[in-house]
């Protein structure tokens, strides 16, 4: 393999590296301009909680856009399902362990219904989900009409969006630092390194090219330092939040499904060339049902996280969330034309957008300027994406 060929295989990674660099630049800029306030433990903790419900939506939206569709209904659906959760807990007096499966089940059904409209009735997703946008908005208003904002008093439910994982009591060393969080961070680093080394060994055993030893060590050190840094910052406040734990689990699960499973590969095949997929025995319809079903399920989870974070269901919950999720996916490198985009990219996109909002709020920037800055970042990211894609051909 010549050097040029190596470059060719690496070219699709350039987009990804660009995004990491942009994210680091944003973090450095706000850290300096807020005199460290941005990277304070408390702020990062809040930032993660405030972005989790968008990030969960962005994960589902990634797959929807990959198969060349869009879902505009997820914002109000999340709001409506949050209201259902609140009503179930407060007025139906259903216990939490019944409420959460009920809400997730409703989300799944709503997603499958959208899939039915798109795959079976052949209605363009834009139109089908625009109808959903209107319908769920109405449903949300109907659900909250007699009560207005519904305050949720269930402590465990509210902990999902606000609470932190417990620490080991009675440990005296490192006072003020969350020990369980540190431990989890350490475990994550060890698992990551073992996984990478195993993967490298197996790849070499099959005589496929791997990164050079120096680059490999550099990669291990860099990512370990990043995990350690984040862990240390989070441990300095109240530790890892439940929202962060849920988000990490969702990302791990979806990364695994999209990169390691047959259905994941078929999702990308359908996005790249639906006719080819069909000719090779892949049911585009089945994939569409799977992707919208998962979108519905994640929307329900997002609605739960949001209602829990606010400790209430409001009459306008979820407004605009669909656009934040779509923007996160596009900033994260999901191609508008479909077929291309990673779950981890969209999470990074969500993180970039949330960091921007958070940083600009800390600096006290005017809200109108904030919108314009976010617009520029979104447009800039997509322009960069399109240009690198063109250059790669």
């Amino acid at each position: 393999m010549s050097f040029k060929d190596v470059l060719k295989t690496q070219q699709h990674n350039i987009r990804e590296y660009g995004m990491y660099i942009a994210f680091v630049a944003i973090v450095v800029f706000f850290s300096i301009s807020t005199k460290g306030l941005f990277v304070s433990s408390r702020n990062i903790g809040n930032l993660v909680n405030a972005m989790s419900y968008i990030a969960v939506l962005a994960v589902g939206m990634t797959l929807v856009i990959v198969i060349r569709h869009i879902d505009l209904s997820v914002g109000y659906l999340a709001g409506f399902l949050g209201a259902v959760a609140a009503i179930s807990l407060k007025f139906w007096h259903l216990p939490l362990y019944a409420t959460i499966p009920l809400v997730l089940g409703l989300g799944l059904l709503a997603g499958l219904f959208t899939a039915f409209l798109v795959a079976q009735m052949k209605i363009p997703a834009f139109v089908a989900t625009l109808a959903g946008w209107l319908g769920f908005r109405g449903a949300l208003q109907l659900a909250t009409r007699s009560t207005g904002t519904i305050i949720i008093s269930d402590k465990i439910f509210n902990a999902l969006g606000n609470g932190f994982i417990p620490d080991i009591p009675g440990v005296t060393f490192l006072p003020g630092v969350h020990k369980v969080t540190l431990l989890l961070g350490l475990v994550a680093i060890i698992l990551f390194i073992i996984g990478e080394i195993n993967n490298r060994k197996k790849t070499q055993a099959y005589h496929f090219e791997v990164l050079s030893m120096n680059m490999f060590i550099l990669k291990l050190v860099f990512i370990s330092v990043v995990i350690a840094g984040i862990t240390w910052v989070l441990a300095g406040y109240q530790g890892l939040s439940w929202a962060a734990v849920i988000l990490v689990l969702v990302v791990l699960l979806y990364s695994y499904i999209t990169t390691k499973t047959v259905i994941g590969r078929h999702i990308y095949a359908v996005g790249g060339n639906p006719e080819a997929a069909e000719l090779n025995g892949i049911s585009v319809k089945k994939i569409t049902f799977f992707v919208f079903g998962s979108m519905g399920l994640l929307t329900a989870l997002s609605g739960i996280l949001y209602a829990s974070w606010l400790r209430s269901a409001t009459t306008i919950a979820g407004a605009g969330m669909e656009f934040d999720a779509i923007a996160a996916a596009f900033v994260g490198g999901v191609a508008v034309a479909g077929g291309v985009g990673k779950v981890t990219g969209s999470i990074l996109g969500a993180l970039v957008m949330a960091s921007l909002t958070n940083g600009m709020n800390l600096l006290g920037w005017d809200i109108s300027i904030q919108y314009i800055v976010r617009a520029l970042v979104l447009a800039g990211a997509v322009i960069f994406d399109v240009q690198t894609r063109k250059g790669a051909k």
Partner: protein, 267 residues
């Protein structure tokens, strides 16, 4: 090439008929393909050659006639049936996903699974990569890495991937629909080399092409179709100019070897 009398032909289509509303696309066509043979299939537009191949690859269900695969009567209702019988079609528009790498395309819809976790089959990626690499080596296809995205390959390389995919699963019959259309001269000669390589490795091939020189250079036998009928079926012989002249005469209807049979059927 002399067909062996003992072994049944790998494909035998008898009196195949297919109508689309009032249009008789196929009016009782016979086709025979022997083991290890390359059959060229030519005809003007709407002669019925693509329809005939779609019948053989399971995409169309014929209105009449029968298909025998290695002497056994077969009923195919979709492309997967045909695939199970070892019949692979390389489509004119390639049917390749450009956003995926070479390995994923070779195994598209037939991925190797290491473990099954409920509805999720876990991909055996390394095995597939290794097998894809072996396949490319075996067919002498020049692609630097099986991990390259197909969108980064040239037109000829893409066609090679599509053909390699057809060979990946020990198929008996490979049907190629215009494999050299829209390729550069250099790429065409590579694809034709690949066809010869497949034949050398024992595949039986039907190749549809408008480029008579390509048919001439790789085929053992030629079949000409016109208006939904077979009008010529003979070994490829003589020099290229002679060959071209004769084939064109059949294509435009100036000559017809089966005219009497057709009249008998019509009468």
């Amino acid at each position: 090439m002399e067909p062996m009398t003992e072994a049944p032909p790998v494909v035998e289509m008898r009196n195949i008929k297919k109508n689309f509303a009032a249009v008789q696309a196929l009016r009782g066509v016979d086709l025979t393909l022997h083991h290890g043979e390359v059959l060229g299939l030519v005809g003007d537009n709407a002669a019925g050659k693509s329809t005939l191949m779609k019948v053989l690859s399971g995409a169309y269900i014929p209105d009449g006639g029968e298909i025998l695969i290695e002497g056994k009567k077969s009923h195919m209702t979709d492309p997967l049936d045909a695939r199970r019988l070892g019949i692979e079609m390389v489509y004119q528009d390639l049917a390749i996903a450009n956003n995926l790498d070479v390995t994923s395309n070779v195994f598209l819809g037939r991925e190797s699974v290491s473990t099954q976790l409920g509805p999720f089959g876990i991909l055996d990626s390394r095995r597939m990569e290794q097998e894809a690499q072996r396949l490319l080596d075996r067919l002498k296809i020049d692609i630097p890495s099986v991990r390259l995205l197909v969108e980064r390959l040239s037109g000829g390389q893409r066609q090679a991937v599509a053909i390699a995919r057809a060979m990946a699963f020990n198929s008996k019959v490979i049907i190629m629909d215009e494999p050299t259309a829209a390729l550069s001269v250099a790429a065409i000669s590579k694809v034709l080399d690949l066809v010869r390589e497949l034949k050398a490795q024992g595949a039986s091939i039907i190749i549809i092409s408008h480029r008579l020189e390509d048919i001439y250079s790789v085929s053992d036998r030629l079949m000409v179709m016109r208006n939904g009928r077979k009008v010529r079926d003979s070994a490829v012989t003589g020099d290229i100019d002679n060959f071209r002249e004769r084939v064109v005469a059949y294509m435009i209807g100036a000559r017809d070897d089966f005219a009497r049979e057709a009249d008998a059927v019509a009468g």
